[in-house]
């Protein structure tokens, strides 16, 4: 443990946490710009999400008469939980103390904490929209969580650890074409689409009640509360992107805290994230949003992929 408690390590961890908060709107802006281009529009500038956040932060917050104190506290809890969860995923450097504070299961737990309060906030005001969003969100998450944990188990059974830094080190160590990782990647991508509320599970740009899940829970929020919730959703997207990019394609991540390594790490991860963002934009343009009761089939596919990953790991990779 001692090698983690150095000032350099904590400094890098702090830098990485700030990077998460800073880069998340950029990723979202990039995806929106690409989608617009694919739809033959010019689209808003890539930095527009920053302007949107700033606008919201400066506006007055309005709270319904029927809202309880939980309504005002929830945005902070959601934002902080997601931010802390993101801070544990190695973005630029691998061996960070935050990865030792919270492993993958704690990460899933922190995301669950954020989701719990988000759903409660949706139910707080006492309108039908919030209840609907909360109910649907809990359905999607109930089906996505076993798929995610199964994919995590597949990784952990190979790497013999749930510590994200150990898993990335394992991947960097002995390179092999593993069918289990391939399936886990497929499963994790589908879970990420469901959890971050992207097409085909949820439409992040809609405000029609028939199609809302995440937006429905946020409907009553305004001002700085809404800014926190939106920012949290953006950080969550960046979190999943970094998870997929750095676990399955970890080459280029900094293994020491020398500035040159950190610089290369940053450049490489931004490249990977832009590539993932482009793939997401393409996927969202090509696919259509499914109706809610087709989401179980989608998530069952994710679970099947994760399950096949596990079986491949047990049968094909260890085999003895």
């Amino acid at each position: 443990m001692d090698h983690l408690l150095t000032m350099a390590a904590w400094g890098a961890a702090l830098l990485q946490a700030l990077l998460y908060a800073a880069l998340a709107p950029l990723l979202v802006g990039w995806i929106r710009k690409l989608k617009a281009r694919l739809q033959n529009r010019r689209g808003a500038p890539v930095l527009q999400p920053y302007r949107d956040l700033r606008k919201l932060l400066l506006k007055e917050a309005r709270v319904a008469h029927t809202a309880s104190p939980l309504f005002r506290v929830a945005p902070y809890i959601v934002f902080v939980a997601i931010w802390l969860a993101a801070a544990t995923v190695p973005l630029v450097a691998v061996s960070l103390p935050t990865a030792a504070i919270a492993d993958i299961i704690v990460l899933v737990g922190l995301l669950a904490l954020a989701r719990f309060f988000l759903a409660l906030a949706g139910m707080d005001v006492g309108t039908a929209f919030g209840g609907m969003g909360a109910s649907r969100e809990m359905l999607v998450s109930a089906l996505a969580e076993p798929a995610m944990l199964m994919a995590v188990f597949t990784l952990a059974m190979s790497a013999h650890s749930t510590n994200l830094a150990s898993v990335i080190d394992y991947q960097l160590g002995a390179f092999a074409l593993r069918p289990s990782f391939l399936f886990a990647l497929g499963g994790l991508i589908l879970v990420a689409l469901a959890e971050t509320g992207r097409i085909p599970v949820d439409n992040p740009a809609t405000h029609l009640e028939l199609t809302m899940i995440h937006e429905a829970m946020l409907l009553e929020y305004s001002g700085r509360h809404l800014a926190l919730m939106e920012w949290a959703a953006q950080i969550k997207l960046l979190l999943y992107g970094a998870l997929i990019a750095n676990i399955f394609f970890p080459w280029g991540i900094a293994r020491s805290f020398a500035p040159i390594d950190l610089g290369i790490g940053l450049a490489v991860v931004m490249l990977k994230l832009f590539a993932l963002g482009a793939a997401l934009a393409l996927g969202e343009t090509v696919l259509a949003k499914m109706r809610l009761f087709r989401a179980p089939a989608f998530l069952n596919l994710a679970l099947l992929l994760a399950l096949l990953g596990l079986l491949s790991q047990v049968i094909l990779e260890v085999g003895a």
Partner: protein, 670 residues
């Protein structure tokens, strides 16, 4: 010299419980005695039990004593080792909360028709029975205390006996408790016949063949599993727990189910000793199925206490998943991993007692304040009962296994134990265990959905009925009881290394190995296997969450935008939202009901009544009744009908049966 101190404290606890029971006899004349004397004595008994438990956990070694009770050739022995101490502590903690909560709650019964003597008397007996079960060192004292526990809880379940549903629930409970007790007795019988005596010492040394050991295991699993509420023997739980008064429900769900777990651990891990991994697979699978069915059933309920009862089924399933993993690892020769799974199961025992006790006490507070158990009538209670709302929220977060509370730690430990499955040699086990873990993950997500539903419908939004709108804050005692448990939930979530350090003595004594690595890197880091494998620092997570929250609050609440303006909720331009427009509990669970509906017997119908209004009817039945109980009932009935033919009504035929039996017995004895 801690050993006698622990025993003395335990004896004090039992005596105080019996005293609390005796004092209630006078409640016939002075009903206030239950509130003023019996309940505080109950709380003191809990405190003594807690102290005894802690003393036993910190001591090194085992304390035994022989009581002047019991059969002439078998004096009753009590034994206080680390395992008993742990369960004494669990009983004590919840009993203290009930002792704080009880006086104010019981006041509501003083003007009713139900007998307070029964309430106070049987509550004390119930506690005494549970304490003696945990302390017993021979089968006779164990079974007697077990019966006392079951019978006194039967009377408590049937407390409000004017309601026919309560009577039926109590009868079902009594029936199943006795069937379970019979199975346990038979299990002890097997051990006693091989060991040559009823004392646990003799049973430990019994030379069992693996076949008979399996038979004893199956009997014990049946008996203790029935009492613990594992599927498919769980049918009594959702009937009995809601029927009892709320503080008794807290005791039953929070503590009595744990005593069943204690019995199972004592029987299998201690008395049987040499475990086989096949037992572990059976326990694992049944635990997993119980967890899933329990939580799905809980999600579909609209009666708050019934929902909490089904949730107990689910949590007991999780405990048995941990125990099953421990059996698998121990049976295949991986003792340290078995210890890890065992500690995870014990931690969950403690956690469930805390948060289920808290939730039931909260449900009791709602019942006390609004006389309502139906979720569909509640709403907006957070603003009317802020303290209860806060404590109930902490309970909901804990049971949903969210960091940084205690529920998360035991779930994390269970997952870590399951992840060590890669060390097993058998490929089949290496695939089975992760699949059960995925089931556990599904259960965890569904629990979060259930408690979002409960909290969102009951405490948030707007009140759905007039009497709920008039709810008031509950008295201080009730709040204190809940607060005590909520504080412990937070504490045991933030300081897991301390708790594991205390629990560590139990596997040390029972299984021969502890978890040295768990706190090896200081109190900050929980590293059950090794730091490279997994580590979790709950205090740091809390500190970081608080730090980030403070930063966010400070930076965002400055300047002119600090204001918050109140307005109406968004109503699409139509009339302002009424309470009827909110999501109901049934509506919230509908998507999940639709996806998982095949596991239950669901009947939905929409029709028109005579006056033209629409009527929606939803009936959700437990498939266990159709698949398991109904065939068993039919078989028992047909067998009884055949036996009834012995009753011919003729005196000479009866005398003939007597003669025949006498002749056969004489022949056997000769």
């Amino acid at each position: 010299m801690n050993a006698p101190v622990a025993l003395v404290l335990a004896a004090l606890a039992v005596l105080l419980a019996l005293l609390s029971s005796a004092v209630s006899v006078f409640a016939v004349r002075a009903p206030r005695i239950v509130r003023l004397l019996a309940m505080p004595l109950f709380g003191l008994a809990g405190l003594a039990a807690l102290a005894a438990g802690l003393a036993a956990l910190f001591q090194d070694g085992v304390a035994t004593a022989t009581l002047p009770l019991g059969l002439p050739w078998l004096p009753s022995r009590v034994r206080l080792d680390a395992l008993s101490g742990f369960f004494l502590g669990v009983i004590g903690v919840v009993s203290v909360a009930v002792g704080l909560y009880g006086p104010a709650y019981v006041r509501g019964f003083e003007r009713g028709r139900d007998s307070l003597t029964a309430l106070g008397g049987f509550a004390g007996l119930f506690l005494a029975g549970m304490l003696l079960v945990v302390l017993a060192d021979d089968a006779f004292l164990f079974m007697v205390s077990w019966e006392v526990m079951s019978l006194s809880s039967y009377f408590l379940v049937a407390f409000q006996h004017e309601n026919a549903a309560n009577r039926r629930a109590a009868f079902l409970y009594l029936l199943m408790a006795h069937i379970g007790g019979l199975a346990i007795l038979l299990g002890y019988g097997v051990l006693a016949s091989f060991g040559g005596g009823f004392a646990f010492e003799a049973m430990r040394a019994a030379p069992l063949t693996s076949g008979w050991a399996s038979i004893a295991f199956v009997l014990a699993f049946l008996g203790f599993g029935m009492k613990a509420g594992l599927v498919p023997l769980h049918a009594w739980l959702p009937e009995a727990h809601p029927a009892a008064p709320s503080h008794i429900s807290a005791l039953m769900s929070g503590v009595m189910l744990k005593v069943a777990v204690y019995g199972f651990i004592r029987f299998v891990f201690d008395l049987l000793g040499d475990v086989q991994w096949q037992w572990g697979v059976a326990v694992l699978v049944i635990g997993g199925v119980s967890a899933l069915i329990g939580v799905l059933a809980a999600l579909m309920q609209t009666d708050l206490k019934r929902l909490l009862a089904y949730s107990s089924v689910e949590n007991l399933g999780i405990i048995f998943i941990g125990l099953g993993l421990a059996l698998v690892f121990l049976g295949t020769g991986h003792a340290p991993l078995g210890t890890l799974a065992f500690v995870a199961a014990l931690y969950h025992v403690l956690n469930h007692a805390l948060f289920k006790g808290l939730l039931f006490l909260g449900a009791g507070a709602i019942l006390h304040s609004t006389h309502e158990r139906d979720l569909e009538q509640m709403g907006g209670l957070l603003r009317r009962m802020p303290w209860t709302g806060l404590f109930f929220l902490l309970g909901c977060i804990s049971i949903s296994a969210l960091p940084p509370f205690n529920g998360f730690v035991s779930e994390w430990l269970t997952f870590q134990a399951a992840l060590q499955a890669w060390q097993l040699e058998s490929g089949v086990l290496r695939s089975l265990i992760p699949i059960v873990s995925a089931l556990l993950a599904l259960t965890g997500a569904l629990v979060a959905a259930t408690f979002v539903k409960v909290y969102g419908v009951a405490f948030l939004g707007q009140a759905r009925s007039r009497h709920v709108r008039r709810a008031r804050q509950v008295p201080f005692g009730m709040r204190a009881g809940q607060g005590w448990l909520a504080l412990l939930c937070l504490l045991f979530g933030v300081l897991p290394t301390a708790v594991i350090g205390v629990i560590n003595g139990i596997p040390q004594q029972l299984l021969g190995a502890g978890l040295p690595q768990a706190a090896a890197h200081g109190w900050l880091w929980l590293t059950p296997v090794s730091p490279a494998t997994a580590s979790y620092s709950a205090p740091l997570v809390v500190v970081l969450l608080a730090l980030l929250a403070a930063t966010a609050l400070w930076s965002l609440r400055r300047g002119a935008v600090r204001r918050v303006r109140r307005c109406d909720a968004w109503d699409c331009g139509f009339a302002p939202p009424t309470p009827r427009m909110q999501y109901t509990a049934t509506a919230f669970a509908q998507p999940i009901r639709q996806v998982f509906g095949l596991l239950f017997h669901i009947e939905e119908s929409v029709g028109r009544r005579e006056d033209g209004t629409l009527r929606y009817q939803l009936s959700i039945g437990d498939r266990a009744w159709d698949l398991f109980y109904a065939p068993v009932m039919r078989a028992v009935e047909s067998a009884s009908r055949r036996v009834v033919r012995l009753q011919s009504g003729n005196v000479r035929v009866y005398l003939g049966w007597t003669l025949a039996t006498l002749v056969v017995l004489l022949w056997i004895i000769s």
